[in-house]
C-alpha cells in the first residue's frame, strides 16, 4: 500500500448563480480592486488515503464526491492526488 495526499475541490456549476461570489465581487470593488469579474466560491477538502495506485485513489475520491462531498445537481468536483 502506498500513501497519497488527496485534494478535492467542489465548486458550483458555472450555470448556478453564486451569491457568495457576487458579494465578494462587490466587496472587492468597494475596496478599490478594479477589473474583477466572475468571482466563484468553492470548498476544498484535503485528506490522506492509502491505496494501490494514484488512479485507484482518485476513483475513490470521485466516489466520495458523488455520495457525500458534493451535490451533483449543482456542484462539480475535481480531484488531485499526490504520492507521499
Amino acid at each position: 500500500m502506498k500513501r497519497f495526499s488527496v485534494k478535492i475541490e467542489v465548486k458550483l456549476k458555472p450555470v448556478v448563480l453564486d451569491p457568495q461570489g457576487k458579494a465578494i465581487l462587490n466587496a472587492l470593488s468597494g475596496l478599490g480592486f478594479s477589473g474583477i469579474s466572475n468571482v466563484r466560491v468553492g470548498k476544498v477538502v484535503e485528506l490522506n488515503m492509502e491505496g494501490k495506485s494514484a488512479e485507484q485513489v482518485s476513483q475513490k475520491a470521485y466516489e466520495m464526491c458523488r455520495k457525500l462531498l458534493s451535490n451533483p445537481v449543482i456542484e462539480d468536483s475535481s480531484v488531485e492526488v499526490k504520492e507521499k
Binding site: L12, V15, V16, L17, A23, N71, V73
Partner: protein, 237 residues
C-alpha cells in the same frame, strides 16, 4: 384519526413546534421518532421538522440522509404515505433524493426570518386537498439556505410538481415576494405522486391568530381529511 410521526435528528429544533400544532391544537395522535428508528409501521403521516440537523455541516441536510430512518422513510414514500419536510426537512428530502433539486445560500446572503405569502399552485396533493388553486396562505420563513435551484437538471426531471410559490398579497409573482431568490419563486414541491412534500415556509408557525396567522392549519387539516377519507373508503394508504 391519523397517527403523525415527527422525525427528529441531532440539531432539529422545530420538532416541539410541530408537536404543539398537531397534538395540542389539532388534537391528533402524534409521536416523536428518533432518526435511528428502523421501523415506521403504523405511521400515517411523517413530519420532518426544521432546524439545523448535524449543524448544516457540508450542506444543509447532507449528513442526515445517512441516518437509519431514511431507509424505512423511502419505503413509506413509495407506498404513498404522506411525508412533509419543512425547511431543514425539505433540505433533507432533497439531499436524500426523495425530491429533486438543491439549495444554495439566499441571494441576500442573510438569514431571512419574515412573513411570506405563498400561492397554492397544485391543490391535488394530500397537503393541499382542502385548498383552492390560487389561494394564498400567510406563512413565515426562517432560513439561510432557502434558495431552491433546479435548473441544471430541470430538463431531465419529469417527476415533480410545484405546489407553493412565493407571491405578493394579490398573488402576483415577483422578486420582492421571494425571500431567498428561489428559482421561479418556488416555496414548495412534491414528487409526481404528490405524497412527498417539501416546503421552506413553516406551516406549524402559522397555527394561531395570536401569533399572526392560522393559515398553516389548512395544510394539516388537508392531510388529516385526505387520510381519513382513505380509511373510510377502506383503501390502504
Amino acid at each position: 384519526m391519523p397517527n403523525f410521526g415527527i422525525l427528529f435528528f441531532p440539531g432539529s429544533n422545530c420538532d416541539h413546534d410541530c408537536y404543539h400544532a398537531i397534538r395540542k391544537i389539532l388534537g391528533q395522535p402524534c409521536d416523536f421518532i428518533w432518526h435511528e428508528e428502523i421501523c415506521l409501521e403504523g405511521i400515517d403521516c411523517v413530519v420532518i421538522p426544521g432546524g439545523f440537523s448535524y449543524g448544516d455541516y457540508l450542506r444543509a441536510g447532507a449528513i442526515s440522509r445517512f441516518s437509519p430512518v431514511m431507509k424505512p422513510l423511502g419505503e413509506l414514500a413509495k407506498l404513498g404515505v404522506p411525508i412533509i419536510g419543512i425547511c431543514n426537512g425539505f433540505q433533507i428530502l432533497v439531499e436524500s433524493g426523495l425530491l429533486p433539486g438543491a439549495f444554495i445560500h439566499n441571494s441576500s446572503l442573510k438569514f431571512v426570518c419574515r412573513w411570506t405569502n405563498v400561492r397554492i399552485e397544485d391543490p391535488d396533493t394530500p397537503f393541499t386537498c382542502l385548498l383552492d388553486k390560487g389561494q394564498i396562505l400567510k406563512l413565515p420563513v426562517a432560513n439561510a439556505q432557502g434558495n431552491f435551484v433546479l435548473s441544471p437538471d430541470r430538463d431531465n426531471i419529469e417527476e415533480w410538481r410545484i405546489v407553493l410559490r412565493y407571491c405578493g398579497e394579490d398573488g402576483e409573482l415577483n422578486a420582492e415576494a421571494n425571500p431567498s431568490g428561489a428559482e421561479d419563486n418556488i416555496a414548495g414541491i412534491t414528487n409526481s405522486r404528490g405524497n412527498v412534500l417539501g416546503m421552506m415556509p413553516h406551516p406549524e408557525r402559522g397555527f394561531e391568530s395570536l401569533l399572526g396567522s392560522e393559515d398553516g392549519r389548512k395544510m394539516f387539516e388537508s392531510v388529516i381529511s385526505w387520510i381519513d377519507s382513505r380509511n373510510v373508503a377502506g383503501k390502504a394508504v
